[in-house]
C-alpha cells in the first residue's frame, strides 16, 4: 500500500501535467496569436474544465455509491443514474420545439438532474424494500438502465438524421459539446455535491461495519444514505448534461485506488477526484493529439477500463 502523502502528490502532479497538456495543445501550432487566444478561451478551457469536473464527479460518486449501497459493483452507470439522465437528455434534444432551442443550455442540466434524481429515487425505494440484498440493488439498476436504453432506442426510430448525431453523443459521451453557459450552471452543482461527499468521508468510513455499528457510533444512517444519493444524483446529472454518459470511470477509479491506498474515504474521495479528472484529461489529450477524429470518450475509458478491472478482479478486490 502506498502512503497517503505520496499518493496525493503523485496524483496532483499527473493532474497538473494533464491539465497543462490539454491547455497547451493549441500552443504548438502555427496559428496567429489572437486566434490561439480565442481557441484557448472558447475551446481548450471549456474542454479542460469539462474533463476535470466530469471525471471528478463520476469517480467520487462511484466511490460514494459503493460504500453507501455496500456494494463494490455500484457505479453511476450500473445502478442506472446515468441512464435516467441520458434518457431525459435524449427526450429534450429530440422534443424541444424550435423556439426553445436557445434555452437548451439551461434546460439540459436541469433536465439531466431531474432524470438522475428520479432514477436514484426509484433505486433507493427498491433498495429499501429489498433491504439487505445488495445484489437486488444492482439488478434493479440494470433493469432501469435497460428500460431507459429501450426508450432511447425507440427515440432513435422516430428521429431525423441531425438529431441522431446529437443523440449518439449522449450515448457515447463527448467532451467537446460543452459551452460556457452549461459549465456555469453545471460546475457549481458538481462542486457542491462533491464538497458534501468529502465532508462526510469519516461517516462513510463508519458504514463499512454495518448499519447498527454506524448508528451506535453516532451516524444517522438513513439520513446520510438519502443525502448522499441525492448528492451523487446531482453530481452525475450535471456530469451527463456536460458530457453525455461516460461508462466505467465511476467503477474503475475507486477500485484501482482502493487497491493502492486502502479504504479510508477521507483520502480515497479526494484522490478519486484527482485521478478521475486526470483520466478524462488524458482522454481529451489523446483526442487532441489524434486531431483528425474525435474519439468517443466511452470508447477510450472502456478500452482502458476493461483490462484494469480484470486486473483488479484478479487481485481479489471484488468477489
Amino acid at each position: 500500500m502506498i502512503k497517503g502523502k505520496t499518493a496525493v502528490v503523485t496524483a496532483a502532479t499527473v493532474f497538473i501535467c494533464a491539465l497543462f497538456g490539454v491547455l497547451s495543445a493549441v500552443g504548438f501550432t502555427d496559428t496567429p496569436y489572437e486566434l490561439k487566444l480565442h481557441i484557448l478561451y472558447q475551446l481548450q478551457l471549456p474542454l479542460a474544465l469539462t474533463a476535470t469536473l466530469v471525471g471528478a464527479a463520476l469517480s467520487v460518486s462511484g466511490a460514494t455509491l459503493q460504500v453507501v449501497l455496500r456494494n463494490p459493483l455500484a457505479d453511476p452507470g450500473i445502478v442506472g443514474i446515468t441512464s435516467g439522465a441520458s434518457l431525459v437528455a435524449a427526450v429534450l434534444l429530440l422534443a424541444t420545439p424550435q423556439w426553445a432551442e436557445n434555452y437548451l443550455h439551461y434546460i439540459l442540466p436541469v433536465g439531466c438532474f431531474i432524470g438522475a434524481l428520479a432514477t436514484t429515487f426509484i433505486i433507493y425505494k427498491l433498495a429499501r424494500r429489498l433491504l439487505g440484498s445488495s445484489t437486488a440493488v444492482i439488478l434493479s439498476g440494470i433493469a432501469i438502465s435497460t428500460l431507459s436504453g429501450a426508450a432511447i432506442a425507440w427515440l432513435y426510430l422516430f428521429s431525423d438524421a441531425n438529431s441522431l448525431r446529437n443523440l449518439t453523443f449522449w450515448l457515447m459521451g463527448s467532451l467537446y459539446q460543452t459551452t460556457w453557459p452549461i459549465l456555469v450552471v453545471g460546475a457549481p452543482l458538481v462542486i457542491a455535491a462533491l464538497a458534501f461527499q468529502f465532508s462526510n468521508a469519516s461517516k462513510y468510513n463508519r458504514l463499512y461495519a454495518g448499519d447498527v455499528a454506524a448508528t451506535s457510533s453516532g451516524v444517522d444512517v438513513h439520513k446520510l444514505t438519502e443525502r448522499s444519493l441525492v448528492a451523487c444524483a446531482v453530481a452525475v446529472g450535471a456530469a451527463v448534461s456536460m458530457a453525455g454518459s461516460i461508462a466505467f470511470v465511476g467503477l474503475l477509479v475507486p477500485h484501482i485506488l482502493r487497491l493502492l491506498i486502502g479504504h479510508n474515504n477521507r483520502l480515497l474521495l479526494p484522490l478519486c477526484a484527482l485521478v478521475g479528472a486526470s483520466l478524462l484529461l488524458l482522454v481529451a489529450l489523446c483526442s487532441e493529439l489524434t486531431r483528425a477524429i474525435t474519439l468517443p470518450v466511452s470508447m477510450i475509458t472502456a478500452t482502458l477500463g476493461g483490462p484494469l478491472l480484470i486486473w483488479a478482479l484478479l487481485k481479489g478486490q471484488l468477489r
Partner: protein
C-alpha cells in the same frame, strides 16, 4: 438509587411483553434465554436503536429520546451480531475508523484479552469467524474507550462469545468483568450458562419476551428457573464461590 439504565413496561410487538429491569452503575449483566426469547431486541431497544411501542427507557436518569445520537455514541457502545462485509479492508483500517484518535493504538488491556495484533494487516474478509468476532469486540470497545478508562462507559454486547474458542471466551468474560469493576456497566447476552453464572454480577433470565427472573446469579440460576425456561434437566451445585451447572437435554430422536 444509582440506576444507569431503567427499563419499565417495555413492549415491542411480537418481541417483548412488558419488560421492566434496571442496571446499576458497575453492574456486569449477562442476559440468558432460549433462541428468539427477545434478548437481542431488548438490547437494541436499550441501546436506543429501535423505538419501543410502549414503556420507557431512561439512560443516566433521562429518557432515551432526550439524548442525541452523537451523545449516546460517546457514552454507550453496541456490538451487534456479525454481518458479511463487502469490502476487503484491512483490520487496522477498520479499527482506526472507530477509534477516537487518528492513529490506531490498541490499549494493552484489549490486546491481552483479544490478541488481534497478529492479524492487524490482514484483510478482514479473510479472518475466521472467531477472529472476526475478536476484531468486532475491539471495535465496539474502542468507540468509547476514553469513557471506559474513566469507568463511565456502558457497553451493550450481543453474544460477544459467539464463535470464540474456549480460551478467548474466558478472556472476554474476564475483560468484561474487569471493565465493570472499574465502574463501567456492561449488558451482554450469552448462551453459555455455566460461564455466565460465574462471570456476572446480575443475571437476567428471559423467555418469550418476558423477564422470568433477574438478580444475583445464585438466586436466578436455580434448577427450577432454568428447567422452566430452557426445558432441559439441570443440576446446580454451589461449590465455595463457584456455581457448577450441568445440563442434559431430554430429547430423543427415534
Amino acid at each position: 438509587m444509582n440506576a444507569v439504565i431503567q427499563v419499565s413496561d417495555l413492549e415491542i410487538e411480537k418481541r417483548l411483553n412488558g419488560v421492566s429491569v434496571n442496571a446499576q452503575k458497575g453492574d456486569c449483566i449477562h442476559v440468558i434465554g432460549p433462541n428468539g426469547a427477545g434478548k437481542s431486541t431488548l438490547m437494541t431497544a436499550i441501546a436506543g436503536l429501535v423505538s419501543p411501542d410502549n414503556g420507557r427507557i431512561t439512560f443516566k436518569g433521562k429518557p432515551l429520546e432526550y439524548w442525541s445520537l452523537a451523545e449516546l455514541a460517546s457514552m454507550r457502545t453496541v456490538l451487534a451480531q456479525q454481518l458479511e462485509l463487502s469490502f476487503a479492508l484491512s483490520v487496522s483500517e477498520y479499527l482506526s475508523f472507530y477509534s477516537i484518535s487518528e492513529s490506531l493504538i490498541i490499549p494493552s488491556m484489549l490486546e491481552t484479552a483479544l490478541e488481534i495484533a497478529t492479524f492487524l494487516n490482514k484483510p478482514i474478509t479473510q479472518l475466521s469467524g472467531g477472529e472476526r468476532q475478536r476484531v468486532e469486540i475491539c471495535r465496539a470497545l474502542l468507540q468509547i474507550w476514553p469513557q471506559l478508562l474513566k469507568g463511565e462507559g456502558i457497553a451493550i454486547l450481543d453474544e460477544p462469545l459467539q464463535g470464540l474458542d474456549i480460551r478467548h471466551q474466558y478472556a472476554v468474560a474476564t475483560l468484561v468483568q474487569t471493565l465493570c469493576s472499574k465502574g463501567n456497566t456492561v449488558i451482554m447476552s450469552s448462551h453459555d450458562i455455566g460461564l455466565s453464572v460465574n462471570y456476572c454480577s446480575q443475571l437476567w433470565l428471559i423467555q418469550q419476551g418476558n423477564i422470568v427472573a433477574s438478580g444475583s446469579p445464585s438466586k436466578v440460576a436455580t434448577q427450577f428457573n432454568l428447567e422452566k425456561v430452557f426445558e432441559c434437566h439441570f443440576s446446580v451445585n454451589q461449590k465455595n464461590n463457584f456455581l457448577e451447572i450441568q445440563v442434559c437435554a431430554p430429547i430423543t430422536l427415534e
